[in-house]
């Protein structure tokens, strides 16, 4: 894996620069220090507790976002009336970044518990999923609709046997983008509006100037995001019916 080679090379260069005294250890501690911090946090179990807390919020937000975005996306795509009322609202809300919702989220859900972070990840997950579902259903080919109707499909079959499977590759791509957004947003939310999670871990260690632990949190975020993306890319390939992408 060439990616792994790059990571090792960067770490080695970083370590060398630290040993040569080129880097201020308070501003950028060497990888060995970060590794020790990793070991401590992992052995103490706190790293996994925080990781689990963040993951749970992401998955909750993603599930809520999916439950809201996919039906709304299908509805907006298939009904001109719904589309006319809904799209302007969506386009007004979409440019507001999820973190701009944090003040309201704190006000509504408080800092303790998962409410505020779940809400932020929901906001983050909703828009990519909605837009991808919407354009997936809008992109159904006319010939497939005509074929379905001349084969006797009723509304239910048009929805479940044509519209949704036809849009599925789009929806899964939306899911991948939403997952990335939600993961980034949960960390931002936890920096401010939480008392657990990887974001909280970073913020707490920053206030104590424990930079190796801050970096340990950052690396965990990066690695987890990477693994989730890899997993969903596989799901994406599995659900794509497009020729060439799913040749077995």
């Amino acid at each position: 894996m060439k990616g792994l080679v790059s990571v090792i090379l960067i770490a080695a260069a970083w370590q060398a620069a630290s040993l040569l005294g080129w880097l201020n250890p308070y501003l950028l501690p060497p990888p060995t220090k970060v590794l020790y911090a990793f070991k401590d946090a992992a052995q103490g179990g706190i790293l996994f507790i925080y990781l689990a807390a963040s993951l749970r919020r992401v998955l909750t937000g993603l599930a809520l976002g999916f439950a809201a975005a996919v039906p709304l996306g299908v509805l907006a795509a298939s009904r001109a009336g719904v589309r006319a009322y809904l799209l302007p609202v969506i386009e007004l809300l979409r440019p507001v970044p999820p973190i701009a919702w944090i003040p309201l989220a704190i006000l509504w859900f408080g800092i303790k518990g998962n409410g505020a972070s779940n809400f932020i990840t929901f906001i983050a997950a909703f828009f990519p999923l909605f837009l991808h579902t919407f354009s997936g259903v809008r992109h159904i080919e006319e010939i497939h609709l005509n074929a379905a109707r001349t084969l006797g499909a009723d509304r239910k079959m048009l929805l479940f046997d044509v519209a949704i499977p036809s849009a599925l590759p789009f929806i899964v791509t939306g899911l991948r983008i939403s997952l990335g957004f939600a993961w980034m947003s949960v960390i931002a939310a936890e920096l401010i509006a939480s008392t657990s999670g990887l974001g909280y871990m970073i913020e707490m260690n920053r206030s104590m100037m424990n930079i190796p632990n801050v970096m340990c949190g950052m690396i965990t975020i990066g690695a987890t995001g990477y693994l989730m993306n890899e997993a969903i890319v596989r799901v994406e390939r599995r659900f794509s019916w497009k020729p060439g992408r799913q040749d077995k």
Binding site: A147, R149, T150, D161, P243
Partner: protein
């Protein structure tokens, strides 16, 4: 006398170009009748409204004016009774061959097991045994169209409407599918309407050929094909086959020239008009 399965009376259909707003008349008062159980081909220059006519019969489109009746009733929308075989197959790429054939069976409310059994029957009817669980992109063009045929038959249709179903296939595959369609037609007693720009195909397969005029499309003439049945490859060497081909070729060429002329401006149209009159004087 039994009523025709399809009856079009003075059907007009125009399309508006959404960008320029210019309206284009595809069918200009077309009338025709198709008898129950008939095998009819429709030929005509490209752009003469053949697909439009078929889509009106299928119920994908509605006439602007005039009436289009199916068994005496106005066609209001698509129905599996008058199903379509598309040139580009129109298979659902997210379903296997069997899944595609099961689609109309599911629409008819059959249970999952009954669907599967029934679908395999139709798949075997078009000689695709062993390919039931392949996806469309894993099949060749000819195999895809076989799935299209099986799927249409699974509707239990009264009429099968085909829009240049073999146009994308090589000659051998085309001829094999032609013979298979004929075999299915003679065994089923259903009405088949075939749109094609391929004269041999039209003559070989049909009992009657409808020639469309250049745009705006109307029926220019309707020609009975009197050739021995069942049709086999030898029919193509029959003198009557040749004579009919020459005759239809002329008729078709006139229309193609008219539509070419129309696209080249009015002065040329008049010129071609003269030539046309001269051609018509020949016996």
């Amino acid at each position: 006398m039994t009523q025709p399965i399809f009856k079009a009376e003075n059907v007009y259909k125009s399309f508006k170009d959404p960008k320029s707003g210019v309206s284009l008349c595809a069918l200009g008062g077309l009338s025709l009748e198709i008898r129950q159980g008939e095998f009819v081909s429709v030929i005509g220059p490209s752009g003469s409204g053949k697909t439009t006519l078929l889509y009106l019969m299928a119920g994908f489109l509605r006439p602007d004016s005039g009436t289009l009746l199916y068994k005496g009733e106005e066609v209001l929308g698509p129905s599996p009774e008058r199903t379509v075989i598309f040139q580009e197959y129109g298979l659902f790429p997210w379903k296997t061959a069997a899944g595609n054939v099961e689609f109309p069976l599911k629409a008819r409310g059959l249970s999952a097991e009954a669907r599967r059994i029934e679908a395999l029957k139709y798949i075997s009817m078009v000689h695709l045994d062993g390919f039931a669980d392949k996806y469309p992109h894993q099949l060749s063009g000819g195999m895809k169209q076989r799935v299209g045929i099986a799927r249409a038959l699974a509707c239990g249709p009264q009429a099968v409407l085909m829009d240049e179903p073999f146009a994308a296939l090589d000659n051998i595959t085309r001829e094999m599918l032609q013979e298979e369609i004929l075999r299915l037609w003679s065994g089923l007693g259903k009405t088949f309407v075939l749109i094609t720009h391929h004269l041999d195909e039209a003559i070989f397969m049909s009992q009657r050929i409808i020639v469309m005029s250049a745009r705006p499309g109307i029926v220019k003439e309707s020609v009975e094909v009197r050739l021995p049945e069942p049709r086999t490859a030898e029919v193509k060497a029959h003198p009557a086959f040749m004579a009919l081909k020459v005759r239809l070729m002329k008729s078709l060429r006139e229309e193609v020239e008219k539509s070419l002329a129309a696209s080249k401006g009015p002065s040329f149209v008049r010129e071609m008009g003269v030539i046309k009159v001269v051609e018509k004087e020949e016996p």
